[in-house]
Amino acid sequence: MMSFFFVDPEIYRKYKDEVLALSHAVQVDFQEHLPKDQRHPALSDREIGERLGLDERVVREIRCVAERDKYGVEEFEAAVRFKDRACRDYARRGMSAVMKKYVDKSKDRGSDQSE
């Protein structure tokens, strides 16, 4: 007997990628000004359910677990290092902390083309 509502792991494994792709998890071309045929606003759980032939509540559970599941806990550890470096670099070097690499690449490309 199920103690509280959760999805069967097999169902979860089968649908998690599709559910995530249709949800807000990865947001592609959300901007309101984009032409209708280009915009990809995410679907609601009900809409995803209709598309995949699943109950709305099952979709919701799959989505909630998949949101947590997509990246492991090590990604959260890595996030601390990422932010510490980014924040301190910016305090020291300003905008070049993020742009210098791309400016250098662009210069390299320029010199390649001139050769």
């Binding site: 947001q27 592609v28 901007q31």
Partner: protein, 288 residues
Amino acid sequence: MADPEPVQQTRRIKEFALAAGADVVGIADPRRWDEHVPEGCRPDDILPRAASVVVVGTRGPTAGAWRSPDHRVMEVNGYDFRNDAAIHRVADLIEHDYDRYAIQAPGLPTAGHLPPFSMMLAAVLAGLGTRSLAANIILNPKYGLLYYSACITTLELEPDPMLEQDVCPHRMCVESYRRFGKTPCLAACPVEEGGCLDGSIDADGRIDHSYYDRERCVSRAMNFGINSFQKALADIVAEADAERRDTMIHSDFFSRSCSAITHYKESVAQCFECMRVCPIGRAERKLQ
């Protein structure tokens, strides 16, 4: 010509919201939601006969907090919820002085990351900003990043026009994209280096493609909190060795996850790196 009564009411409510602590205020017509979100996510679904949506925005962190070289300062201390306080006062005013229903629109997640009502969309539809390349964050032309709250009401008010001009990309970012293939925000968190963002700008200087990996963003912007707590707990429960389990429970990572849950209201945004380099609103953050 607009009905003078809604015009006067609108002016009074806007002035009141600004005096209550809002930095910006805008009004949206609830019908604007029809084009953008499915049934169930519109103002009418939250308050029947909704006639207007009042949206307020506040700056959150001080300019000094943006200057701190320690990213944790803004994570723990970024937000004073003045927008919620202001919107509650607006709702009180409408119910008390105009005898119309008024509620705070629900912006907290109720299923996974999804709230019943999107504050970001409300801000766009109330003419307070447009969606950016940086995690789709709504940028206001004057302040850049703002925190938004909304009040749904049955009171008829004069809606503001939505912004015609995109706030993002800033002309400096268009130039940067053309020369180096990146805007500052895309360079700060590039998807090809394990970040969250990608996108492109067309020949007219408008966003023509955007990509945002929200779950990656969650690992940074909600670094310590419910997510990390659940993940660490899953590992702890699965650990068979009691001694190892004890050290996991008392680890700095798990302790901070627990602390973040307890202070989650104050610590809800924990990554600002794409916004730190955004030129929009920077003038407002430049002090002595």
